[in-house]
Amino acid sequence: MSDFSSEGYLNMELLRFTTAGSVDDGKSTLIGRLLFDSKQIFEDQLEAITRTSTQKGYEHVDLSLLVDGLKAEREQGITIDVAYRYFATPKRKFIIADTPGHIQYTRNMVTGASTANVALILVDARKGVLEQTIRHSFIASLLQIPHLIICINKMDLVDYDETVYNKVVEEFRHLSSKLDIKDIHFVPISALKGDNVVDKSKNMSWYQGATLMYLLENIHISSDENHIDCRFPVQYVIRPQQTEYHDFRGYAGQISSGIFKPGDKVKILPSGISAEIKTIQLSDEMIEEAYAPMSVTMTLDRDVDISRGDMIVRENNIPNMSQEFDVMICWMNTEKLHAGGKYGLRHTVKDARCVIKEIRYKVDINTLHRNEIDKEIGMNDIARISIKTTVPIYFDSYRKNRHTGSIILIDEATNETVAAGMIV
């Protein structure tokens, strides 16, 4: 870790990735291996897991213990929720959304996938592409994760055989032709032994590609954000009650997409009023160009009535404005979806209510078939629905814009988040 210099550290990029694999695919071992081989394990942590491994009578130090979380989980030997892990190399800082592979936990993978640049999908080399692999890949494509890395794990158990690897790659290519995935990579690894995770394997000279760590450090993520369609949801209106700033009206928020500059002609939604950006700043620092995901404060050249939930956009590039649209949802609650029911809805920083007009179909995520007969939507189900909102929503399709194309549904009685939605 001493490779860090102050200057180098300031130029690091942030990469968020999520992991998916079936039970026993070795996901925790892989994450443990990434942390261990990139020297992110501290002495006190290593001592603790060495002690536990010895107590359990293991021959080797069980790296998966590094990512074991809560007491409840250790008792049951499973991961019950999304856990976030952090590590860094001199090039990038990584945030891992570690999600469990259990069949009932689609909702956790959706949660982890929603903010990820990269999805790591584990496949057991001995088993090949399974139902779970289809499910995980489908979720990655549904959530529009820009990059996918398929780790064909446990190569040590198939004698590092190239033909086994090629067969899995072929199976996966066949599957992915049905999915909307932009960028796929394959790596043969052994998380347990460390082959091709951080260090290049000596056992697979036939593999000429990059190690997993090399891919994580070098995958091109700077164009993952949408820099074309200018969208700025107003999160908070700043009006200082101080004489010095008596006339100051600042519109604070995080830029969803596009590039904003002082002097730009903008339109405010829903009023449709036009204005010009006077300044963009954060604290007392003036900003020449603001782009996603910067949090900034804008001032305009004229007094306009703007409140939280309004959106500032470029005059010649307006999002859809509608009260009726279709959404792909992942249901996340034990209480089933009520057709015709009313729910709270949240889109960017805007709150609204909606009614479920129609359930169009449910997706069988193991076969990818559309089921238009069974329309009962329960925990972990994926479905396409039509909704009508109480107020107009300014949105882009999720494929075009992950920030202005996503919603959540909220149960109005319990206040729980019951669904993740991707606007079609």
Binding site: M1, S2, S6, L10, N11, M12, E13, L14, F42, D44, Q45, D68, G69, L70, K71, A72, I80, D81, A83, Y84, R85, Y86, R92, I95, R107, V110, T111, T115, S222, S223, E225, H227, Q235, Y236, I238, R239, Q242, F248, G250, A252, G253, Q254, Q281, L282, S283, D284, Y291, P293, M294, S295, R346, H347, V349, R402, I408, I410, N415, E416, T417, A420
Partner: protein, 301 residues
Amino acid sequence: MILYHLNHLRELEAEAIYVIREAASQFERPAMLFSGGKDSIVMTHLARKAFFPAKIPFPLLHIDTGHNFPETITFRDEMVERIGAQLIVRYVQDSIDKGRAKEEKGPNASRNMLQTITLLDALEELKVDAAMGGARRDEEKARAKERFFSHRDEFGQWDPKNQRPELWMLLNGRKNSGEHFRVFPLSNWTEMDVWMYITLENIPIPNIYFSHQREIIERDGMLLAKSNHIIIRENEVIVERTVRFRTIGDMTCTGAVNSPASSLEEIIDEIAASRVTERGTRSDDKRSDTAMEDRKKAGYF
């Protein structure tokens, strides 16, 4: 396109500011928990940036155990004065005097657990419905599962199995009366990120983070500062050492590290080369393997 890409510190900054602005918008009476440690100092700095040129639109709340380092309190008061923030202090001693909390006994006695009582009482008294804290997910395994918006029931408890899923950055702060939220803007920061950001933004911090001479008692592998709050056991000796603090909590449970690091750059080099986690200097976590998980369920920070 590299021109339009934020480095990781600026991305974390933007995310934290977004979370702080959401807390200020979604709740009626938010407050920011301030401990005098580097994380809460960074969080306060971000809150200033979020609302500039207006003042921070919510109070800072300090739960004072009475066992703080005097340097922490001096720093706190100067900072509040400098930025014009509103500070509310509630004292663990008051909870003890009222019979709400009972002091631990023995040489390892700490008021760490008692803080939870004072904190929950203060949140109720002040009707705080969102308490922002500087906790980070990298600190401890129970914290790795926290949300930005963490729902607490009417008893202030955290149920790790029953958390709301957090999708994208769509934060759901809806609640029933009597319930409240803990909000963690620095969730995705690591110890290194915090130090680098302090350097980048030139943020003032208490001087005990830097190397100094101090009278120390060595106990169970920890270097505790000599103070009136620590009962010295037989065969324990007081020695003078060159130390600094890597975290700042109560004097009774915060260990110093031997260190000559007297500048931010030296601290960063030291952390980069460090082979022990930050919480390794905290005896409050060493009480048991699940000490943090158990305290969090009860309503700890």
